[in-house]
C-alpha cells in the first residue's frame, strides 16, 4: 500500500486541473502579450483565470499578480514593501515560525540595514497580540505573519493582526500558502494588504504563485524586465499554470467545508488512536486552531529521519520538519519556536493529510507505525533511561 501523507509539502495535480491545462500547451499556445489572435486567445484564458480567483477571494482581478511560486510572491511582497517604503521606515515585524521564504527574506533584509522583530509564539504556535502591539514603532513599515503554519498547522488570528496593522497604517502581508483552499480567505474583509498563494498546495500545478496586492499598496521591484502583469511581474506568462491554479482553487473552495470536516475527523481519529498505541509521544499545537489535515507528532527518544525512512519502507510518505529543509540537519525553527526541546524536535514527524487520503490508509499507518517506533526505540540509548 502506498500512502501519501505529505500534502503540506506538495499535492497531486487533480485530474480535472490537468485536463483544464492541457489545451494551453499545444493548442492555445500564443503569448498573452501578443496582439494577434493566438495571443488574444491565451490572454482571454489568462484573464478568465484571474477573474475566477478574484471572485473567490472577493477582490478585483487587477489586484492579482501571477508569479512562479509562493516563495517568489513572499519575496515580492516583503522586498517590495521594504524598497517602496524605505523612506518611511526600516522596521519589519514577523513571527519566529514563518516559512523560510519569509524568514530568510527578512534575514537577508537585516543585512541590508532593515531591522526585524521576530515575534515569539506560545506552545501552540500562536503569536501574542500584546507583544505585537508593543513591537510596533514609528519606523514599522510591514507586518508579515503567516496564516497557517506548514509544520504544525497553527492558524494565526490574522484578522486581529490585520486590525492592529490597519489602525497603525502599516502594510500587512500574510503567507496563505497553507490555508488557500482550506480556510476562509477574503483579504478585503480580513484587512489584508498583501497575500501569498502557491498553486501546488491545493492540487494545482507546481511553479505557480499568486500575490494579491491591495489597490494602492506600493511595491518596489524584485525582478525587472518586460511589461507583463501590468508591469508588476515580468516574464512570459505561464498560461497553462495560470489556468491550472484557477481551476484548482475553484475546485478546492467548492468542497471546502465538507472536506475540512472530513479531514479534521480523519486527523483526530489518527491522533487519538496513535496516543493509545504509542507511549511517550506529543501531539504539537493541539491546543490551537489548526489546519484540518495537519498532525505534528513528537516521538520522544527518536530521530525523525529514521522514522521517516522506516515508514517509507512501508510505502508511507511523511516529512520530518518541512520538506524544504529536509536537506538541512538542524532542528526545525518552528518546533524550537513552540518550545520543544532540541532532542525532541529531532524526533518530530509531520503527517499531512489531503483530499485523496482515506480511512483505510490511516488504519494502515496506525498498524505499521507502532512496531517501527518500538523497534527504533529498542536501539535508542535515550529510551528507558
Amino acid at each position: 500500500m502506498k500512502v501519501y501523507l505529505d500534502n503540506n509539502a506538495t499535492t497531486k495535480v487533480d485530474e480535472k486541473v490537468l485536463e483544464a491545462m492541457l489545451p494551453y500547451f499545444g493548442e492555445v499556445y500564443g503569448n498573452p502579450s501578443s496582439m494577434h489572435g493566438f495571443g488574444q486567445e491565451s490572454n482571454k484564458a489568462m484573464e478568465e483565470a484571474r477573474k475566477t480567483i478574484a471572485d473567490i477571494l472577493g477582490v478585483e482581478a487587477s489586484e492579482l499578480v501571477f508569479t512562479a511560486s509562493g516563495t517568489e510572491s513572499d519575496n515580492m511582497a516583503i522586498r517590495g514593501v521594504a524598497r517602496a517604503y524605505k523612506r518611511r521606515g526600516n522596521h519589519i515585524i514577523t513571527s519566529c515560525i514563518e516559512h523560510p521564504a519569509v524568514r530568510n527574506t527578512c534575514k537577508d533584509l537585516e543585512k541590508e540595514g532593515y531591522e526585524v522583530t521576530y515575534l515569539s509564539v506560545d506552545e501552540n504556535g500562536l503569536v501574542d497580540l500584546e507583544e505585537l502591539k508593543a513591537a510596533i514603532k514609528r519606523e514599522t513599515i510591514l507586518i508579515t505573519v503567516m496564516h497557517a503554519n506548514n509544520e504544525i498547522g497553527t492558524i494565526q488570528p490574522i484578522e486581529e493582526i490585520a486590525k492592529i496593522a490597519n489602525e497603525k497604517k502599516i502594510v500587512f502581508h500574510t503567507d496563505a500558502v497553507q490555508s488557500a483552499g482550506k480556510l476562509k480567505l477574503k483579504p478585503k474583509e480580513m484587512g489584508i494588504d498583501l497575500l501569498t498563494i502557491s498553486g501546488h498546495k491545493f492540487y494545482g500545478p507546481k511553479g505557480m504563485g499568486l500575490l494579491y496586492i491591495k489597490q494602492g499598496t506600493r511595491l518596489g521591484k524584485v525582478i525587472t524586465g518586460g511589461g507583463q502583469e501590468r508591469k508588476r511581474r515580468p516574464g512570459t506568462s505561464d498560461v497553462p499554470g495560470i489556468v491550472g491554479m484557477a481551476t484548482a482553487l475553484k475546485a478546492a473552495v467548492a468542497h471546502q467545508e465538507e472536506e475540512c470536516k472530513r479531514l479534521s475527523e480523519l486527523r483526530d481519529y489518527f491522533e487519538e488512536e496513535l496516543l493509545k498505541k504509542v507511549p511517550e509521544i506529543v501531539i504539537n499545537a493541539k491546543g490551537a486552531p489548526r489546519l484540518p489535515g495537519t498532525s505534528s507528532v513528537t516521538f520522544k527518544y527518536l530521530e525523525g529521519e529514521s522514522i521517516l525512512l522506516s515508514l517509507n519502507y512501508k510505502g508511507i510518505a511523511v516529512s520530518s520538519g518541512s520538506a524544504c529543509s529536509s536537506d538541512e540537519l538542524q532542528a526545525s525553527h518552528v518546533l524550537l519556536g513552540i518550545g520543544i526541546p532540541v532532542e525532541f524536535a529531532h524526533g518530530t514527524i509531520r503527517f499531512s493529510l489531503g483530499k485523496y487520503n482515506t480511512k483505510e490508509e490511516i488504519d494502515y499507518v496506525l498498524a505499521e507505525l507502532p512496531p517501527i517506533i518500538e523497534r527504533l526505540r529498542m536501539i535508542s540509548p535515550l529510551w528507558g533511561e
Binding site: 530521530e303 529514521s306 529536509s326 526541546p341 532532542e343 529498542m378 536501539i379 535508542s380 540509548p381
Partner: protein
C-alpha cells in the same frame, strides 16, 4: 539525498544492536541536542573483540554506520579496531551522502571511546 542500498539494509536490519551487561569496554559519544548519541558495548578476551553491541539515537546514516562498524571490528584485535576510520566505514556502506559523512565519525569515536575504557580498566 539518497542512501545506498547497503545503508538502507544496515538501517532497516541493524546487526549487533542492543546492550551487553557488564561490558569490558563501554563508550558513549554525541548528545541528544545535536540529534545523535551512540553507545558501544564490548566483550573482550585477550585483546580480541569477542562481542559487540550498539545503541544509537540518530539518523539512518548514524544507525547504519554503527551497525556496519560493529561487524567490522568483531573478532578483531583492539589495536586493529582502533585503526578503523570513518572513511573505511563509509566505503563499506558504498558511500554516504556528503551531508551525512559526519555521522560516520560518531561510530569511529564511539569505538575508540569503548576501547579506551577497556584499556584504562586493564
Amino acid at each position: 539525498m539518497q542512501y545506498s542500498e547497503k545503508v538502507m539494509d544496515h538501517f532497516m536490519n541493524p546487526r549487533n544492536s542492543g546492550v551487553i551487561e557488564n561490558p569490558d569496554g563501554y563508550g558513549k559519544v554525541g548528545s541528544p541536542s545535536c540529534g545523535d548519541v551512540m553507545e558501544i558495548f564490548l566483550k573482550i578476551e585477550d585483546d580480541i573483540i569477542k562481542d559487540v553491541k550498539f545503541r544509537t539515537f540518530g539518523c539512518a546514516s548514524a544507525i547504519a554506520t554503527s551497525s556496519i562498524s560493529t561487524e567490522m571490528i568483531l573478532e578483531k584485535n583492539v589495536s586493529e579496531a582502533l585503526e578503523l576510520t570513518n572513511k573505511a566505514v563509509a566505503e563499506a556502506l558504498d558511500g554516504l551522502p556528503p551531508v551525512k559523512m559526519h555521522c560516520s565519525v560518531l561510530a569511529e569515536e564511539a569505538i575508540k571511546a569503548a576501547i579506551e575504557d577497556y584499556m584504562s580498566k586493564k
